[in-house]
Amino acid sequence: MATKPKVLLLGKIEHAHESWKSLSNLADLVSSQAQGRAEFLEECKAGRWDGVKAIYRTFDSMEITGRFDSELVPLLPGSVEFVCHNGAGYDQVDVNACSDRKIKVSHTPGTVNDCTADVNMFLILGALRGFNPGMLSIREGNWRGHPLPPLGHDPEGKTLGIVGMGGIGRNLKKKCDAFSMKIIYHNRKRLSEELAGGAAYVSFEELLRTSDVISLNLPLNKDTRHKISTREFEMMKKGVVIVNTARGAIIDEAALVKALDSDQVASVGLDVYEDEPKIHPGLMSNPRVILVPHMGTWTAETQCAMEECNISNVRSAVQDGVLLNLVPEQVDLEK
């Protein structure tokens, strides 16, 4: 009788315990207790994970294994066919390195859209209205603060430029409509009118030049790293508001601090940072920056949905040999 394949858990299951356990009908569930990358790599080399067909990894498991990069991926046992990443952004996984090994990668898009767009909206309102100084001064017992902070701006009639009109960007667009913002977007590909919901497609340069608020909603990869840097800040409207819930490294953080200091950028809302959990001191010390610590998907409902989605991908991989949410870069691998 053929032995059951193994499924390796890197990280923790916090919510979908029942669904996780039910995988044991299909596979032996194993998890690594490695305390660091070196130990994990040793485990791999020693054959500890031989027989593992699918790996379920979490965003936080990077603290132990480090990135799934061109050093680690080749060391994964030959039996590994699937890496199921819990998260919509999968920049922690080097997809090319996986493709070289014929390892297919899935992620959890869709489940994160509402949650991330909600934090995105919170930050747009917080930055545009300039709530941060008041939020700090009131807790210090200084009511609105001395001197009074400047007035904020209403979202009504302002142009919001969405960079990256994927699931999250489109979700955000619908919510910003309710605040009567005018939405323009830039995307690798122009979307159909219907999908864009009436938002106008513009070039990246035009988005930079004409937006009052710029929201980053695109994935991080080698093409998008530091996509927003000195040159881009110089093209923006004076007094622009920037919001980032995507990945910190899309913005050149040092250039952002300079742009804030020169008042080119009036205010900023951030959920993500270049070097999490470190936040650039120039951002921390600036009251016009509203900062939250990468909490884009941190609700009970969404965390559960993400785990369920990732578990479903594992089940489909083990049972049927296909992933439900294959990463777009690997579409050709299916053939």
Binding site: C115, D118, F122, R129, R144, D154, A178, M284, H294
Partner: protein, 334 residues
């Protein structure tokens, strides 16, 4: 014909030009700063005799104090119009004004979007339990003692007071997938409800996941939310107040937060601004703002313009654009 006299109490930040232009139709007087004592004495001294219409605001209330019997008696007999900058006018005794044949206007509508935007910010912040990690991040502790929040999607939002602001809150909340129910002094016509369900006050309290206060403060609504009402609410309710602090018994709210009956709260207003109950200041389960509901360039200018427009019309035609509803009703009875 002699020009009328108009008085500006307090200052204008965005519409000095428009105020100056009123000099075509009225002599302009100003009382930019001072004290209640000083203002009363100037009134009694006859400094403002002949003034027919005046501009006051929620901001200028800290100079003159409330427009009550004492102050209204001191104001010149010529005064016929009080043009108030603010959608809330609980610091003006309307009945006392009506008795003296003084008409009062406020600034509804102009405040709706800005106030609703604050309500949504507080609602999102409270649902996402943001304060703890917001403070931790700022102190360099990243997420601190982080706890998960909740999605607004499919939650029931109960709006107490479905006026202009309440409706604006409903429109926005719907975009986040919330289901809307409301209680109002009277049910709105169906086409104005936009799908919102009308419920009794008690049902609103018992069945809402999130409660947003969007009603005006008056003698009958003071402490409309107190211990008895918190006891009726769902366990883990989220409470949002952008209306007036005294609508909520603040001490009872602090107790309800401690017992976790109220899971989180978002507040822009407090019973005794700028004093805040220490139980709220220390609480990481509340998102608090220092009453900045309409603090934007655009809305502040719109509000000032509306007051000036009321002032001009009162002088040229003896009527107001946005007279307070209590006085319009009173007139209808005649």
């Amino acid at each position: 014909m002699a020009k009328s006299n108009a008085l500006l109490i307090g200052t204008l930040s965005h519409t000095r030009k428009e105020w100056q232009a009123i000099s075509e139709i009225a002599n302009l007087h100003e009382y930019p700063d001072g004290s209640r004592e000083d203002f009363l004495s100037k009134c009694r001294n006859g400094d403002f005799d002949g003034v027919v219409a005046l501009y006051r605001s929620n901001d200028s209330n800290k100079i003159t104090g409330n427009f009550n019997d004492e102050l209204l008696d001191a104001l010149p007999k010529s005064l016929k119009f009080v043009c108030h900058n603010g959608a809330g006018y609980d610091n003006v005794d309307i009945a006392a004004c009506t008795k003296r044949d003084i008409s009062v206007s406020s600034t509804p509508v102009a405040v709706n979007a800005a106030t609703a935007d604050v309500a949504l910010f507080l609602m999102l912040g409270a649902l996402r339990n943001v304060t703890q990690c917001f403070q931790a991040a700022r102190k360099g502790n990243w997420r601190g003692d982080f706890k998960l929040g909740h999605d607004p999607k499919n939650k029931i939002l109960g709006i107490l007071g479905m006026g202009g602001i309440g409706s604006a809150v409903a429109t926005r909340a719907k975009a986040f997938g919330m289901k809307i129910q409301y209680h109002n002094r009277s049910q709105l016509p169906t086409k104005e409800e936009d799908g919102a369900k009308y419920v009794s006050f008690e049902e609103l309290l018992k069945t809402s996941d999130v409660l947003s206060l969007n009603l005006s403060l008056n003698a009958s609504t003071r402490h409309i939310i107190g211990k008895a009402q918190f006891d009726m609410m769902k366990d883990g309710v989220v409470v949002i107040n952008t209306a007036r602090g005294p609508l909520i018994d603040e001490a009872a709210l602090v107790d309800a937060l401690k017992s976790r009956k109220v899971w989180t709260a978002g507040l822009d207003v407090f019973e005794e601004e700028p004093k805040i109950h220490p139980g709220l200041l220390e609480d990481e389960n509340v998102v608090i703002l220092p009453h900045i509901g309409t603090a934007t360039f655009e809305t502040q200018r719109d509000m000032e313009l509306l007051v000036l427009d009321n002032l001009k019309l009162s002088i040229t035609e003896g009527r107001l654009i946005t007279q307070v509803p209590e006085q319009k009703k009173a007139k209808a009875k005649v």
